[in-house]
Amino acid sequence: MNRRIRFFCAALLWAVASTASAQGVRPDGEALYQQNCAACHGSDGAGGVGVPLNLPDFLAVASDRYLRNTLRHGRPGRVMPAFPSLTDEQADAIIRTIRGWSDAPAPVYDSVRLKGDARRGKQLFTEHCAACHGDHGQGGAGTGVTFSRPREAPIMAPALNNPGFQQSVSDAMLKATLLRGRRGTPMSPITALGLTESDADDLVAWLRKLPPDERLARTSQSPIIRMESPYGFEETLDNLKKAVTARNFHIIREQTLDSGYVKAGKENKRQYIVYFCSFSFLNEALSVDPRVGLFLPCRVTLQETDKGIELVTINPESLSHLFNNSELDKYCARMHRLYSEILEEATL
């Protein structure tokens, strides 16, 4: 027993010591940035799926507090996830790396709410901002700058009504952004539009009243859609193909589940996958979020079970939330409807 206690204590001490030692070392911000941020924001912060972070005007107005809060809260429904697992030291190290792209000192703002006229701010917003940021501040469609897919603008206008953004930004930073504009994007300083500092206060007052995006509510759904078929295997397969092509999908491949994993001729032909695609729909979906290709092409598996013949496929609506991109929801809902129709028609 004593040996066990000694072993327990030694292991505990080792774990505590190694953790403390790890905390004593200053985190490597560059490595953390490359690991956590570069996939979306680019190796050098030039942008990608995510907005560019290395724009001088952005770094001149973005406070460390804003960046830290953004890491903590993310942007619900707008691709950027929250990073709750990063320690404060790691978050600060990433922020130091981002700061390294500019000579501008980090601004510090107070958290005082500006007292503008929100009603007037709404009029100004509609006139000058809504074309890019949307009527309700919901932001531009799609993801970030050019990313495999052609884009109409060099940057997606951020969603100003996003709860993550609203929690992260101070009134003073909003005002500083309005007054400075952002070179490299379509956003010009509001003074170039003939507006004044007082107008900025009114705009900020309205930005704080923007209604939040209601699409962010999520429900937990089954990850699959399954329907049993009253028909035999071959007849169900025939029905499936007819239902697929009737909806203007192209059948691009048919194979067994184990194809490529067992010798030719030894496959289990009672687990059969039909792959299909509508390239115009695919192009549309990829334009909204190129990551969605992970769950493409479309496929339905026909399989024989103890209970009979069934058709089974992924449930796109249950996968939509993985991408944290509310723009994708309608495409996933559409795909869910199409999958359901195909399975229903094949098994009716």
Binding site: P223, E310, T313, L322
Partner: protein, 150 residues
Amino acid sequence: MRSWRIWLAAILLILTTSAIAQDLYMVRSGMAFPEAMVALQKAIREQGYTLSRVQRVDLGLKSFGFKTDRYRVVFFGKPAEIEQLGNKYRDLVPYLPLKIAIFAEGDETLLLASSFHHLRPFFKQPALGKQFDTWEKDIQRILEQVRLAD
């Protein structure tokens, strides 16, 4: 006697891990698409998986007149796992085999895979939970190997 071992394992786990559930794994490789694709296939094989096919998404899009950069989906698995899990867990079949999307972004390449976090509430069998753990670790190793490859 058994309980203190469980406690020890729990304490060590809490102290030595900081990982949290992630829905997607995404990494950027500084390599151009062809080199990154080679590195991905090598990493998949080195983790003990068989690559079954590569879906050339970009070719399909181009053949229908759409503009796109290089975009592929790589399918892989272990033959025994595909056979056993495909037979035992029929509801899991739509998520088999495993896959990684790989696509060009200018001179660099992005790689993306899904974790199994979203499937866990629906597949509560302990054996499957362990299988998800293994796949998640392997996928992260594969992606990390490509990210760090020259």
